[in-house]
């Protein structure tokens, strides 16, 4: 078996699928979704579901999750399961705040956050690659360690600072936000008219072009950069080959240990960046426990995205968007979302019936569509107790609808020792 064979196997075999997701189809899908949401907005009057504020908040909530997911991608593509993302993220929140406060510049905090996360990654690499510790056990240990170490360090560092305490840091200097000049006010006015489709487009554009933190732009750029490095360079091919078949990679002269080390350290740095974003941009302070499991949600987003950069970005955005909806306007927005879900289910039902000729599956989807629509029409708002689960429920729904062809790297999580093939 040669490395080129491997690469063919590693790519998600497009020929096996009915259709390949091209950018035209993706754009058409997004447009169709926007039409549905616009429809739901006009019918229900829940103007917040496509407002610029919601889109901006969605991006802000998606970035930490997306960065953690990207970290997971790097690690798992090299064959190391990284359940310690949460711990590395916690290190990132603390180090980000510490760096920003100590050096007086938020960008120093960004770098410190990445370094803090990378240290966690290095520890994970030492444990799993050099000593062959079970990946899950090492990951859980690192999460615990992250919590403990940051608690200890806070007592040491933040207690002495004005406005700081054992559980939180003083205000961190903020990172600049940028806007595309000249279009802010017209877009806002257009969105304010609540016209069909036009206002929704304006709202979305406003959200992605106005008041965007520079850190957000860096984070977004890391997605295509990761794709390029992992799928378009020899380095990336070798790294992925370690996750598919380390023995084969070794036989071709790849230093598997080194590649795994590099991948896991980068993974930690990315998770650390996610943490730094949380403390520097999203909150403005470090607060104990502020990650709230986002590292694990990032891991889920990565699985959701089928171990691909584009897919995990979509997963993070979906989670961030639904979270923004429920946090901003709670019941009203989530109620409008029900209509979107009903429409989507109906469309999917038709697709199953016409294109796939799966009558039974279509029947089930159809029943669900009617059920959701019935709930939508009989209620005015969704109770608070349910709205907080919206992001999780939506993710589950999409996962169960999307054809379940998840394919993880073949040697992901398996122990590997140098020379084990001989």
């Amino acid at each position: 078996m040669t490395v080129t064979d491997l690469s063919a196997k590693a790519a998600p075999a497009p020929s096996a699928r009915r259709f390949r997701l091209s950018w035209q189809i993706a754009l058409l899908g997004v447009l169709a979704l926007l039409v549905m949401m616009s429809l739901a907005r006009v019918v229900t009057g829940a103007n917040d579901i496509t407002s610029g504020g919601t889109v901006g908040a969605a991006i802000g909530l998606a970035v930490p999750i997306g960065l953690a997911a990207l970290g997971g991608l790097w690690s798992e593509r090299s064959g190391v399961v990284n359940i310690g993302l949460e711990g590395m993220m916690i290190m990132g929140t603390w180090c980000g705040a510490w760096g920003g406060l100590t050096f007086g510049s938020p960008w120093a905090g960004v770098i410190a956050g990445a370094v803090g996360g990378a240290l966690g990654g290095l520890l994970h690499a030492i444990a799993t690659v050099t000593f062959g510790v079970d990946h899950i056990i090492s990951g859980v240990a690192i999460t615990l360690l992250g919590q403990g170490v940051t608690q200890y360090l806070s007592k040491l560092v933040f207690v002495g600072m004005k406005g700081g305490g054992e559980t939180q840091s003083p205000r961190i200097p903020p990172i600049e936000s940028v806007s595309v000049p000249g279009i802010g006010a017209p877009l806002r006015d257009l969105a304010g008219t609540h016209m069909f489709l036009l206002s929704d487009l304006a709202g979305v554009l406003y959200g992605i072009t106005q008041n965007v933190s520079l850190f957000t732009i860096v984070a977004i750029l890391l997605v295509p950069l990761s794709f390029y490095l992992l799928w378009r360079t020899a380095f990336g091919l070798r790294l992925r080959s370690c996750g598919e078949s380390p023995v084969a990679a070794e036989s071709l002269g790849v230093n598997v240990y080194l590649y795994k080390y590099v991948a896991v350290v980068i993974s930690g740095a990315l998770a650390g960046l996610g943490g730094a974003f949380l403390s520097i941009v999203a909150a403005g302070i470090y607060r104990e426990g502020q990650t709230g499991g986002r590292g694990f949600i990032g891991l889920a987003a990565m699985i959701f995205g089928n171990w691909r950069p584009g897919g995990l970005a979509g997963g993070a955005l979906l989670f961030g968007y639904t979270d923004a909806l429920q946090l901003r306007q709670g019941g009203t927005s989530v109620h409008a979302l029900l209509l979107v879900v009903a429409l989507l289910l109906a469309a999917f039902c038709v697709y199953q019936l016409v294109r796939q000729r799966r009558t039974r599956a279509a029947l089930i989807t159809g029943i669900f569509a009617i059920l959701v629509f019935a709930v939508f029409t009989t209620t005015d708002t969704v109770p608070e107790q349910f709205t907080s689960f919206t992001p999780h429920l939506t993710t589950l729904l999409v996962l169960s609808l999307a054809s379940q062809r998840l394919r993880m790297p073949a040697a992901d999580g398996l122990p590997y020792r140098k020379g084990q093939a001989t």
């Binding site: 899950i136 919590q147 933040f158 305490g165 426990g289 901003r328």
Partner: protein, 359 residues
Amino acid sequence: MLRNHAGKLAATTAVSAMLMAVAACGGDSGSGGTDTASQGATAASSAPAAADAAKVGLAYDIGGRGDQSFNDAAAAGLEKAKAELKLGETKELEAGAGETGAQKEERLRLLAQSGYNPVIAVGFAYSEAIKKVAAEFPEVKFAIIDDAAQGPNISNLVFAENEGSFLVGAAAALKTKKDHIGFVGGVQVPLIKKFEAGYVRGAQSVKPDIKVDVKYLTQPPDFAGFNDPAKGKTAAQGMYDAGADIVYQAAGGSGGGVFEAAKDAKAWAIGVDSDQALTADASVRSVILTSMLKKVDVAVFDFLKSYVDGTVKAGPTTYDLKAGGVDFSTTGGQVDDIKNKLDEYKQKIIDGEIKVPSE
């Protein structure tokens, strides 16, 4: 087979998340107790009149000292008691985020066993723990803040948060220019609902048609809502974008995010528990219209004083407007123009003319 593999990974992720939460607690309580064990378990001196022997044990809620709010207020009460009453040694233990009930029990037991008497538990999270431990140590006096746990040796220091919130609700309604205000609660528990109930009633009694947006960041048993400023900021931004111009926060550590959002939106926010125009970060103090004061320090001091005097009574002591346990703050002078009206409402509540609902 591959599919199976992926499914397994997902399951492991979930299980590990739970494991982490459980195990995390083990780490936390260790870091909380510093040197208590070494002091040895001296026999509890149960003579309440012996003031010199009053060794006070205090167990904090999540957040601990330095939260610039609830726990710090309890610490301030203890400091004041230390200065004015002759207390023996005192011991303060911190709680960790996401710990179990068993660890809270262990913390209280440790204090009682080491001869600390009285023992004060800060926060409703200790409700179940204190019931058990108080029964084990009948000779030790316990006090719990914000909870009605019953026992022959448990004093409940509870507050009429709804009355204080009524006043800031009225202040918000008097100050709003859009007749639209908001409330951000940390976690939807009965205690925080009390804040909401008073706030909404206070606002409505000034302007019956006022619109009040209400959002809780998380649902129990997920208590992350008290520690997630990013979510607090997003929720408050949503309210300001929707047209609200004043938002009241009862969200603990997430409250800082609400102030940030208020600053960005050039709108008002209302603080909680302590006078946050003094305690919050300097960059956001100017957006704080007023704060609902909950004088935990007064309650802690009063309890310790009654212990020293030998007049501790079990059961609830309510710190309401009448007792001066709750109030609104005037720091910054933003409510000076409506202070007379607020004082009128205050008097009516004290006189019993206005009954404030608690849920």
